[in-house]
Amino acid sequence: MTSVRMLLEKPWLWSFVGAVLVWVATVAFTGGYGAGGMITAALSLAVFTVIVGVGQMFVITLGPGNVDLSLPANIGLASAVAMKVMGGSDSMIVVGLLAALACGAAIGAINYLLIWALRIPPIIATLSASFIIQSVDISYGRGLQIKPPPGFADFTNWQVLGIPVLAILTVVFTVAAALALQRMIYGRSVLAIGQNIRAAWLAGVNVGRIRFLTYTLCGALGGIDGALLAGYFRGANVDIGNEYLLASIAVVVIGGTSVAGGKANVPGVWGAGLFLVLLLTMLNTFGVSAGVRLVLTGLIIVGVITAAGGEKAVR
């Protein structure tokens, strides 16, 4: 019942409708030229936003004030760690990915440790942590010129029939995430905490452990995202994750997840991710300047959220 209602939830559909509209507008502008290539490009770029978006979604669902601001720094550091561990050799790809995953998970765990031990708002905790991670990255990744192993770079760019393999794998991952959210005790607990943390605690949910797991999961996803980005863009970079702070929050909200927590939506993250990437492609195709592109992106985000509307507070 709940899942049927979630399926028909408006914002969820809106993000896909928006993505399709933007695509149609661009294709109409080019007269049908590059319609398929645009989808391929959108899918391969949206993957990176979707992966961190899902992590951010779980964190935001924990309730008001929960947000991970350390993702950009996390992605930057993990990309450097992955490239250093892989060292350009194909045999170390898996080890490198695991290292990036572990690095991200550790950052997530530290984030929660700060929130729990200092009882400070997650925004400030993850912000302070991100300052420190950024410094570690600057000093660790200085002058890092290691290219990703050829096998890894090819893998992140690998396409089958015009569909990026990474996108297929990410779809599998998001299906798993949706199942975890709706069908597993972990996901139900996250939702329960977001709806009412005290009620969840009284109902026997181990609030501390679930929150710890969620921040660690989000960190780990940021870590793996950093490694994949370094593969796709052929190299690690301190600033590689910068755009994913706003993007990760934007896809979560445009995708129909409640910022007040307790209501999450996985498919919407895909819709919103594609929407944002296609929007950028469209504005680039139209040949508008960087300033106009930014203004339109901002106005569209505000417009979408205004149209979707907020929900009335439960209490």
Partner: protein, 324 residues
């Protein structure tokens, strides 16, 4: 969750609880004093009229941006666009306000109007302010780039004159900080409408039932944020003399950190203008002068900033625990 009804506090611990509460409200000032003492110990010559003028150079715009952020936080909202807004104002100040003052003033007043409209929109449609202001941050940045594609422009002469004002004995940044803190403290903490504004964050339902318009409080809070954002951008350009579309980007996070460092809280309308200004000064001092004197390599300066934030917040937790 851990709140205990006032009646359950044993009488004997009341005195120490009150002491802890006072300690907590003094914490922002204590952390500032600590940073100042560290600087004095590391480099005694910095504690002088000239030294403060240099060290607190950028404190005025940071303090104004922090006050701007404090107003939205007082209403349980958050402004993630204040940084790019300061940059936008900077670009307007360095171009139109100098070349065509009328247009410049109109644009700046109009941008405050946009802030007021955002407040209305957020209230009427019950939107999450984080997302709306996130979207607006793109808009301001885009507008700033359109106005000033390349770094440049020049601050109006009257603004340069104001910002390079050298009062006797007290360095200008300190004088300005005192003035800002005093004015906002009076307006928000001592007037009756200030109480209503803070109440809209503390208990909106109660205010509505008492007949106050929540729409109006939200509009006023956002307009005040816009106003202080404009002042911050103008002050910044008065110091740097020329603008750049990205000049204010760091201010979003700096202003949030300043409010929290100054004892404010994200929900409940619990904010402190004096604390916010002190928090901004602490951040401005801790950001570079202290770290430079400590010979911390540039790589680790950002980390040291994060560490200072964590230490101050940890101290607050220790004190808060005693409060209970």
């Amino acid at each position: 969750m851990t709140a205990i009804a006032p009646g359950t506090v044993p009488k004997s611990s009341r005195g120490s609880a009150a002491r802890a509460r006072m300690l907590r409200s003094l914490l922002p000032a204590l952390s500032l004093a600590l940073v100042l003492m560290a600087i004095a110990w590391l480099n005694p010559r910095a504690i002088s009229y000239f030294g403060f003028n240099l060290m607190l150079n950028l404190a005025i715009p940071i303090a104004l941006a922090t006050i701007a952020q404090m107003f939205v936080i007082a209403g349980n909202e958050l402004d993630l666009s204040i940084g790019t807004f300061v940059g936008f104002v900077g670009c307007v100040t360095a171009t139109w306000l100098r070349d065509a003052p009328l247009i410049g003033v109109a644009v700046l007043l109009g941008s405050i109007g946009v802030y007021a409209l955002l407040g209305a929109l957020i209230h009427l449609r019950n939107l999450p302010s984080i997302v709306v202001t996130l979207g607006m941050s793109f808009v301001w940045q885009g507008l700033a780039i359109l106005i000033l594609p390349k770094p440049g422009g020049k601050a109006p002469d009257w603004l340069l004159a104001i910002m390079s004002f050298k009062p006797p004995y007290i360095p200008f940044p300190i004088l300005a900080a005192l003035l800002i803190a005093a004015i906002v403290h009076f307006g928000l903490m001592r007037t009756s409408y200030g109480v209503i504004l803070r109440g809209s964050g503390g208990n909106a339902a109660a205010l509505r039932r008492a007949g106050w318009s929540l729409l109006k409080t939200k509009i006023v809070l956002f307009a005040l944020t816009g106003l202080f954002g404009v002042l911050s951008g103008m002050a910044l350009i008065g110091i740097t003399t020329s603008a750049d579309a990205n000049i204010g980007n760091g201010y979003t996070l700096l202003s949030i950190a300043g409010v929290i460092l100054g004892g404010g809280e994200f929900v409940g309308g619990r904010v402190s203008p004096i604390g916010a200004v002190i928090g901004a000064l602490t951040l401005a001092l801790a950001a570079s002068p202290l770290l430079t004197f400590m010979h911390i390599p540039p790589d680790w300066q950002v980390a040291a900033n994060g560490a200072i934030l964590i230490i101050v917040l940890a101290a607050r937790v220790l004190i808060s625990r005693r409060e209970r």
